[in-house]
C-alpha cells in the first residue's frame, strides 16, 4: 500500500473538507501496479499557506483553486515550476476562463476539475493523476537502475582490464631492473605469464565486442536460414586445438537437422562460448557432447560435459555479467566472465530459453530452446 500526499488549496472550507472526505477511503488500483494507492489530504486556505505546507510536506498531488484571497493559484503554479518541484497539479476552477486554463496548462497543470464537482468527478480525476504519477515513478526507477547496471558494468570492466595490465607492468619492471638476473632465460616465467595475460585480455576484448554487437547491431537483413549442425561443427573445429591439449573428445550428435531463422553471427557466439566452456571446464581426458534436436516448434541444443561442474548456489548467478565461479578448480582457468551472460542475452533475443543442470565433479548440461519460426527482433 503506497500513500500519495494530496494538498488542496482553496479558500472555500466546503471544497476542502469535501476533498478530504471523498479521498479518505478512496484507493486506486490497476492490474499493472504492484500496490494500491491511497491518499492523505492536507488543506490550505490561501496560496501563501499552501506554499508553506508544500515546502514542508512535498505533496505528490496539488489540487489548486485559482481564485484565492492573496496570491493567485497561477502564482503558486509558477512558484512550483520555478523550484522544479515534482508535483502533479490539477486546477479547481469555478468558471472556465480560457485565459487561466491556457496559462495554467503552460505552467504545468495537467488537469482541470470543474467546481462544484461530484465525488465521482474528483475520483476519476485523481485516478488519472495517480496513473500518471505511477508511470512517471516507474520510468524514473527503471532509468536509475539502468544507469546503475551500466555503471557497475563499467567499474567491473575497468577492474578486469587493469588486473592484466598491472601484471604485465610488474613483470616488465622486474626485467627493467634486471631483478631476477642478467640473462633473458632468467625471465622465462614472467615472459610466459605475460603472454598468457595478454591472451586473456584479448579474449576479454573479443567478448566485449560480441557483447556490444548483440546490444547494438540489430539488423533484420542479417536474419537468414541457419543450419545449426553446420555452425556447431564449425565451432568444434575452432575449439579443437584446445580440446587436444586438454585431451577432451568432442562429439556432435545431430538427431534432427534443424534450420532456424537467425543471424548466423549470433548463433556462432552461442556455440563458441558453450563448446569452449565444455572443454575449458572439463577434466583431462573428459568428454563434451553436443546434441541438436527439435520439437514441433523449437530447436533444442544440448551441450554437456564431464567437467568440474557447478554447485547449486553458483548456478544462480551463472549468467550475470563478469561472474566467474572462483574456487580451487577454476583457479587456473582464464575467462572474462562475460561468455555466459552474452549467450543468455542472445538466446533471449530470439525468445528462447537457456537452462543449466550441474553436479560438481560429474559435469554440466546446458539446454537451449529456440523457437523455429522467425520472430521479429525488437
Amino acid at each position: 500500500m503506497a500513500v500519495l500526499k494530496v494538498l488542496v488549496i482553496d479558500d472555500e472550507p466546503g471544497i476542502r473538507s469535501g476533498v478530504s472526505r471523498i479521498l479518505k477511503n478512496f484507493h486506486v488500483t490497476y492490474p499493472f501496479m504492484d500496490e494500491d494507492y491511497t491518499f492523505e489530504v492536507t488543506e490550505a486556505a490561501t496560496g501563501e499557506e499552501g506554499i508553506t505546507i508544500l515546502e514542508r510536506d512535498m505533496p505528490d498531488i496539488l489540487l489548486l483553486d485559482n481564485k484565492l484571497p492573496g496570491i493567485q493559484g497561477i502564482e503558486v503554479l509558477e512558484y512550483i515550476r520555478k523550484k522544479n518541484y515534482d508535483i502533479v497539479v490539477a486546477m479547481i476552477t469555478s468558471y472556465a476562463s480560457l485565459d487561466v486554463a491556457v496559462r495554467a496548462t503552460r505552467d504545468g497543470a495537467i488537469d482541470f476539475i470543474p467546481k462544484p464537482f461530484t465525488p465521482q468527478e474528483l475520483k476519476s480525476s485523481i485516478e488519472n493523476i495517480t496513473k500518471q504519477q505511477y508511470l512517471k515513478r516507474i520510468t524514473y526507477k527503471m532509468n536509475q537502475e539502468g544507469k546503475k547496471v551500466r555503471y557497475q558494468f563499467l567499474s567491473v570492466l575497468s577492474h578486469e582490464l587493469k588486473a592484466p595490465l598491472n601484471a604485465l607492468e610488474g613483470y616488465l619492471r622486474m626485467m627493467q631492473g634486471k631483478q631476477a638476473g642478467e640473462l633473458i632465460d632468467d625471465y622465462a616465467t614472467p615472459i610466459e605469464r605475460s603472454l598468457q595475460r595478454i591472451q586473456g585480455m584479448r579474449s576479454l576484448i573479443m567478448d566485449l565486442l560480441d557483447f556490444t554487437k548483440i546490444r547494438l547491431e540489430r539488423k533484420e537483413e542479417k536474419i537468414q536460414e541457419v543450419n545449426l549442425a553446420e555452425l556447431a561443427s564449425d565451432a568444434i573445429v575452432t575449439v579443437q586445438p584446445y580440446a587436444i591439449q586438454m585431451d577432451v573428445s568432442i562429439n556432435l550428435d545431430v538427431r534432427t537437422n534443424v534450420i532456424i531463422m537467425a543471424d548466423p553471427d549470433d548463433m556462432e557466439i552461442v556455440f563458441n562460448n558453450l563448446i569452449s566452456n565444455a572443454v575449458k571446464y572439463n577434466k583431462i581426458g573428459g568428454k563434451a557432447e553436443i546434441t541438436i534436436d527439435s520439437s514441433d516448434s523449437e530447436a533444442i541444443l544440448i551441450i554437456s560435459d564431464t567437467g568440474i561442474g557447478i554447485t547449486k548456489s553458483d548456478t544462480e548467478n551463472l549468467f550475470a555479467e563478469f561472474v566467474r565461479i572462483k574456487n580451487e578448480k577454476t583457479r587456473n582457468i582464464s575467462g572474462s566472465g562475460l561468455g555466459l551472460s552474452i549467450v543468455k542475452k542472445v538466446v533471449e533475443l530470439y525468445h528462447g530459453t537457456i537452462k543449466v543442470e550441474s553436479t560438481p565433479d560429474v559435469g554440466t548440461v546446458f539446454t537451449i530452446r529456440l523457437p523455429k519460426k522467425p520472430i521479429i527482433i525488437p
Binding site: L154, H159, A163, A167, E169, G170, Q179, T189, R331
Partner: protein
C-alpha cells in the same frame, strides 16, 4: 628486528600479482608465505602468526580481504595488515583506512592500490613494522 626475521603472509588469487609481490618482498629481504585463496590464508593464520599480512580484497568472494582482516585482527591484534586491490578510485569503489569511521569497519592498517612500485611497498612494510 632484521628483515630476514620477518615473515609476511601474502594472499592473492591473481597468480601474477602474488608472484611479483612475493618476489619483490623476498628481494627486499623478507621471508614470505604465499597463498592463493581466502581459505588457504585462514588455515595459515590458524596455526602461524605472521609479522605482517597483505591481502587481496576480492578472492573467493568480493569481500574475502575484509573477512581476512577481521579474522587475523581477532587472533593477532598486533599484526599489521595491508589490503591491496586493483579496484581503483575512479571506479567509485574508492575507500581508504584513514578516517576513524573507516577504521571501525575496515580492519586494515593500510589500503594500497595494486601496481605500486617495489620500493614503495618495502617502505610501507617498514613503516608498519616500525623498522
Amino acid at each position: 628486528m632484521k628483515k630476514s626475521d620477518i615473515t609476511i603472509l601474502v594472499a592473492d588469487d591473481d597468480p601474477d600479482y602474488l608472484f611479483q609481490t612475493v618476489f619483490n618482498l623476498e628481494k627486499a629481504g623478507y621471508k614470505t608465505i604465499a597463498v592463493e585463496s581466502q581459505a588457504e590464508a585462514e588455515s595459515v593464520i590458524a596455526k602461524f602468526k605472521p609479522s605482517l599480512a597483505i591481502f587481496d580484497l576480492m578472492m573467493e568472494s568480493d569481500d574475502s580481504g575484509f573477512i581476512l582482516c577481521y579474522k587475523i585482527k581477532r587472533k593477532y591484534p598486533d599484526v599489521p595488515v595491508i589490503l591491496a586491490t586493483a579496484v581503483s578510485h575512479e571506479t567509485g569503489l574508492s575507500f581508504s583506512v584513514d578516517s576513524d569511521q573507516e577504521k571501525s569497519w575496515i580492519r586494515a592498517d593500510k589500503y594500497l592500490e595494486k601496481g605500486i612500485r617495489p620500493e614503495q611497498l618495502d617502505q610501507e612494510v617498514m613503516k608498519l613494522l616500525k623498522l
